[in-house]
Symmetry: C2
Subunit: 337 residues, 2 copies
């Protein structure tokens, strides 16, 4: 079976599991409360549909890791639902924190229902993420359910730590390099590491292999993030699309920028003087190229990808069982903006 | 030992448990993030001290219920920390939702660090509440820790449901009576019921007695809330204090008001016409008195107290073991605003 076929067979089961969690946790007496959640998850309301639901990459990671461990992926469905709910809780709160009016082309929850209700809707979904894990006691064992809670909590702590740094550095043009990794690590990587670990946990693999799964997901997430940083400056959209799409204009503290700040006094002087204007992008990129900021960032992404793949080889010793995870990783890392 | 002595012996252990959770979950690398939490918990920053910490009633309820079940209350400390952290998470988010600048006489977290950081600080404390439960695996058993997670999650769902109703009805002068109970139930009662149940769970009592403990806490919480409603109109502060302290002026949808709306067309007409002014309080109270709204509310509080005490007698069959919980309940219900 190809990865596409595997994913196509898993996706409806994930949606069913998600819907079952929402139904059993929010009483039908409060249709509007339930409506905020089903709207955000892309099931109902204006613009609902697959596009609004996103790719459900995180639950797929859980299920593929469970399958690669030799288990029936269906046993890991409660964990798959948990990570997707956790991801979506963080999006609801992020959108308030970032003042974002749109998410996947649709109005964000806070725009539709106000900040107070949106904070609360996020809190409901946060709770649901943990509630989802309980069914692991049926599909795997109570011990696995308890351990999964611990893994998910640890992930929440890293997510909120990353979010703290992100907000703290918002109005600050420069961040120390040592805060870059926990900041981006808290975004994509901590949760991807959690996905891989929970898949392995549901499959009952031993501690050492579970740690290797977590490392695989975590490093893959970092590689993805660093590549995203590169694309934000040298990618097609940033270069040929509307110039405002360049991360240089939005002032994002990406890895190439931090390298540029360390290595190019000229770039640092310009960056610290205030926002880069669209007509200055070419000049700024020249500064970065002169100190190989892009090449160094790409090399970092390559290194991280290598570490992720090495961890995967420990997590899943039989090469043929790694095929789908290899393909998923390649798809993640090759995607264009 | 008197209740005061018992509480005095438990309080330092609760603070230690809380501090241990905060220390093990937030890395010292981020002192500011940790600082938001220790500030809110009343340990640090301007105005820190016992006054800022509150009475820690909820953890006391956990520990006293564990003790009344014949267990060593120390085994229940992880659960005591969990409920206090959950309570405080909800306060951090409440203060944003209600736009409250002060809490226990100190600036609220969102006023000091902004809304974005305050949402995140609440999310951290939410996670910590669940993290706190894990130590139950050591003090009691892994099975108890897993069950405690489920109890706490169920409570979060009721809290967020109550919060949803509270926000939804904010700009609405009248609410249906059937929404009054889940709304107030989600505030004090669900969490007090959870406290009593977790204390019993940590003591290893059977399902039936655990349910009786939960009922005791829940009904006690409702009785407290209804009495609070009564005090908000007929209490000393409302009558003789600044008249703006009257719930009639703030437009709060309390039980006496809902009874008045049902039974007095005159009161309903005035209430629906817009906010009651301080100089109209006397007239409004006359309307309520004419239909016995206050007396009916007090009778409801009495009924609920009776139900709470009946549940307690099932939860703790030996009368002498109920002394401290009886005293705690009496203290809660007799307190003046």
């Amino acid at each position: 079976m190809s990865l596409q076929q595997t994913i196509a067979s898993m996706l409806p089961a994930v949606e069913d599991e998600l819907k079952a969690v929402v139904e059993r946790t929010v009483r039908p007496t409060y249709p509007e409360l339930r409506g905020m959640l089903t709207y955000h998850l892309g099931w109902e309301g204006e613009g609902a549909g697959p596009e609004a639901q996103g790719k459900r990459i995180r639950p797929m990671m859980v299920l593929l890791c469970a399958a690669a461990s030799g288990a029936d992926w269906k046993a890991a469905l409660p964990a798959a639902a948990a990570v997707e709910l956790l991801h979506n809780f963080s999006l609801i709160h992020d959108d308030i924190q970032d003042n974002s009016p749109l998410r996947r082309g649709r109005k964000t929850v806070w725009v539709r229902w106000g900040i107070a209700q949106a904070i609360n809707a996020g809190d409901v979904m946060f709770t649901q993420a943990f509630s989802a894990l309980h069914r692991l006691a049926e599909t795997v064992s109570p011990a696995a359910a308890l351990e999964a809670h611990q893994v998910l909590q640890e992930t929440c702590l890293r997510l909120t730590e990353g979010q703290y740094l992100d907000i703290a550095y918002e109005s600050c043009p420069v961040i120390p390099m040592e805060d870059y990794w926990p900041m981006v690590g808290g975004k994509t990587s901590a949760l991807l590491g959690c996905c891989a670990e929970l898949g392995a946990l549901a499959a009952g693999v031993n501690e050492a292999r579970r740690a290797a799964f977590r490392e695989f997901g975590y490093k893959l997430g970092l590689a993805f993030q660093v590549q995203d940083d590169w694309l934000g400056i040298w990618g097609d959209a940033a270069l040929t699309g509307k110039s405002t799409e360049s991360d240089l204009v939005s002032g994002k503290k990406t890895l190439p920028v931090l390298i540029g700040l360390e290595r190019s006094p000229q770039f640092r002087a310009r960056w610290e003087a205030g926002p880069v204007q669209p007509d200055e992008i070419g000049e700024a990129i020249k500064c970065l190229d002169a100190v190989e900021a892009g090449a160094l960032a790409l090399a970092e992404a390559e290194k991280l990808t290598g570490q992720a793949m090495a961890a995967l080889a420990i997590a899943v010793p039989q090469a043929e069982l790694r095929d789908e995870l290899n393909e998923l990783s390649a798809g993640l890392l090759k995607r264009k903006k």
